[in-house]
């Protein structure tokens, strides 16, 4: 458990509505360094919206975000990255016509100077370092030079994962449904990766529908219902029935 002194991230009273829909309606929680926190809840419970406000993709209507104890205002994904928050989205946010190396380095492309003057993209360096990063994830791609639209779901996932390993600054990695589009074996790899990130002291905030996955990796489970926190369950106390009851509400 994290208390206020050690929390890497703490949010208080987060609120966001779209038109009349209160997508997130007063959410508080915190994450400690190296902690894996899962967010579960029914479709439309507000999981993605919470995560996007932390990641700077949505501006919040109300509430406060504390990063390492200081109040912060992530206004853009860039702001969040500067803090050390990396996000992997449900749709993976890849550029389909760009190759995996290009995607991994999107926005951070290395440039070399031809004849010491003309700046050109250093594609060789991008491919070399991409191969290294993919090795850490232990997933093999058929080629680093085909558009990712030609890759399988798992291979795209690997690309997205390698993408945030690139930034050594990452202290918190947010994953929205990382296992949703994968085969069983590739799902296992993502769970292994989460474990690996935790070992390296990186915190993970993971959204998942799969309670089995959640129970196997999360230190704590936050249940959202109708834009509010229905319950926070530490791993020790977590079992399927408790969580399902919190998700659907009523008798809990």
């Amino acid at each position: 458990m994290s208390d206020d002194a050690t929390a890497l991230l703490r949010v208080e009273g987060l609120r966001k509505s779209f038109g009349g829909v209160h997508a997130v309606d007063g959410v508080d929680f915190s994450i400690a360094r190296g902690e894996v926190v899962a967010v579960v809840g029914d479709n439309g419970a507000g999981k993605s919206t919470v995560v996007k406000m932390i990641a700077g993709a949505y501006t919040r209507d109300e509430g406060r975000i504390f990063w390492e104890g200081r109040p912060v205002e992530p206004q853009s994904p860039e702001d969040a990255k500067d803090l050390g928050i990396e996000t992997m989205y449900q749709d993976l946010a890849l550029v389909p016509d760009l190759d995996p190396a290009g995607n991994i380095f999107l926005g951070k492309e290395p440039v070399r100077r031809l004849f010491g003057v003309v700046p050109v993209l250093d594609r060789a360096e991008m491919r070399r370092r991409s191969a290294e990063l993919l090795e850490r994830v232990r997933i093999r791609l058929p080629s680093l030079q085909v558009p990712v639209r030609q890759l399988s779901g798992g291979q795209r996932q690997a690309t997205a994962i390698a993408r945030f390993l690139l930034s050594d600054r990452a202290k918190l990695i947010i994953m929205d449904e990382p296992t949703a589009a994968l085969g069983v074996q590739e799902q296992r790899k993502v769970l292994d990766l989460i474990e690996q990130l935790k070992q390296q002291g990186i915190s993970v905030l993971v959204i998942s529908h799969n309670l089995e996955h959640v129970l196997s990796v999360a230190d704590r489970i936050i249940v959202l219902r109708g834009g509010r926190v229905a319950g926070v369950v530490p791993r020790a106390a977590a079992d399927r029935q408790t969580i399902v009851a919190l998700i659907v509400g009523g008798t809990a």
Binding site: A93, L98, L121, L134, R140, Q150
Partner: protein, 334 residues
């Protein structure tokens, strides 16, 4: 893939096998046209005629290079003909009024860039679709060009300009027309920007998935504005060359160019809905149209026949590209 499995060189790229389908099919069409036209007219292959083709296509090509950036980014610029018209008006009249030729050319390029920035701002800040935004500027700039002549210059046409500007449009270095040399230099610049810089890479990436680019920290709006500014600068430069070639200008200069240019870019293989672009294809697209136009005149065919041919070719080429991409999208998926 199992967790403990030893992986042979993870992530290592395996070379993609090369196939004849990777050659731009326009190349075969151009070769075919050359064979047919060489047989049909003994003047077609003459050096003077070949150089004439390069001179004729130069203005179109310079603008089409910019349009390749625009279309690759999932945009479109319909205002290129009108931008050309207004830039030509300003360049021609200022030179005619005694402004230094080189300053006038610089002025034309600056004006073109400024118009491009305007297009970019309308598209990004007012969030108007590129089609509508540049349809608006197409109409407005043509009107502005007429107003410029009647109210600021008081003549409807400009003619008999100084030697330097005429040289830019009509001169030769050895057998090679000056406009062709400028167009070639612009091809190198555009090819470099498109394939070797962040600017080029972000252009196609925005066309492919704009949201992903924004999330990755790419300044999407700034990039788009720069793309339209580059397109405008191309129009400004093309205007100066055209003024030299015509040894003057009139309010209707450049009318209808947009269709010719967009057709050439798409014919070359750049995807109209962005994400995929090719400078080489654009060069081939412009050449194909240029060769058809030149050849039809040489063999004395009805002028309107070339338009029928170009229209059919455009449809066939796009159908082929779509078929090939759909096939790749599934066949190479694992």
């Amino acid at each position: 893939m199992r967790a403990g499995e030893t992986l042979p060189a993870p992530g290592r790229a395996t070379a993609r096998t090369w196939s004849i389908g990777d050659i731009n099919p326009l190349l075969f069409i151009i070769i075919g046209l050359y064979i047919v036209l060489a047989l049909a007219s003994d003047r077609f292959l003459a050096v003077t005629n070949q150089m004439n083709i390069t001179r004729q296509v130069s203005v179109y090509l310079i603008i089409a290079l910019g349009q390749t950036f625009v279309i690759s980014s999932r945009g479109i610029d319909l205002s290129v003909g009108s931008t050309l018209g207004l830039c030509a008006a300003v360049v021609a009249t200022q030179i005619s009024d005694g402004l230094n030729v080189w300053l006038a050319i610089g002025l034309g390029i600056a004006l073109g860039s400024l118009i491009g920035v305007g297009n970019g701002l309308i598209i990004t800040k007012l969030q108007i679709s590129p089609l509508i935004a540049t349809l608006g500027t197409l109409v407005a700039l043509r009107g502005a060009t007429h107003l410029y002549y009647t109210h600021l210059y008081a003549h409807e046409v400009v003619s008999r300009l100084p030697r330097d500007i005429v040289y830019l449009g009509q001169g030769f270095v050895g057998p090679v027309p000056v406009p062709a040399i400028i167009a070639a230099a612009m091809c190198v610049l555009a090819w470099y920007l498109f394939h070797y810089t962040r600017f080029g890479s972000y252009t196609t990436s925005i066309g492919s998935n704009e949201a992903a680019c924004a999330l990755a920290g790419v300044h999407v709006d700034r990039q788009k504005i720069l793309i339209y500014a580059f397109q405008g600068a191309c129009c400004g430069l093309a205007a100066a060359i055209l003024v030299g070639r015509l040894n003057g200008a009139s309010p209707d200069v450049g009318t209808g160019y947009e269709l010719h240019i967009i057709a050439a870019v798409v014919l070359g293989g750049t995807a109209l809905f962005g994400g995929i672009g090719t400078m080489w294809g654009t060069v081939l697209g412009i050449l194909t149209i240029g060769v058809i136009e030149n050849g039809m005149v040489l063999i004395g065919a009805d002028f309107h026949l070339q338009r029928v041919l170009i229209g059919i070719l455009l449809i066939v080429a796009v159908a082929y590209q779509g078929w090939r991409r759909r096939r790749q999208g599934t066949a190479e998926r694992t």
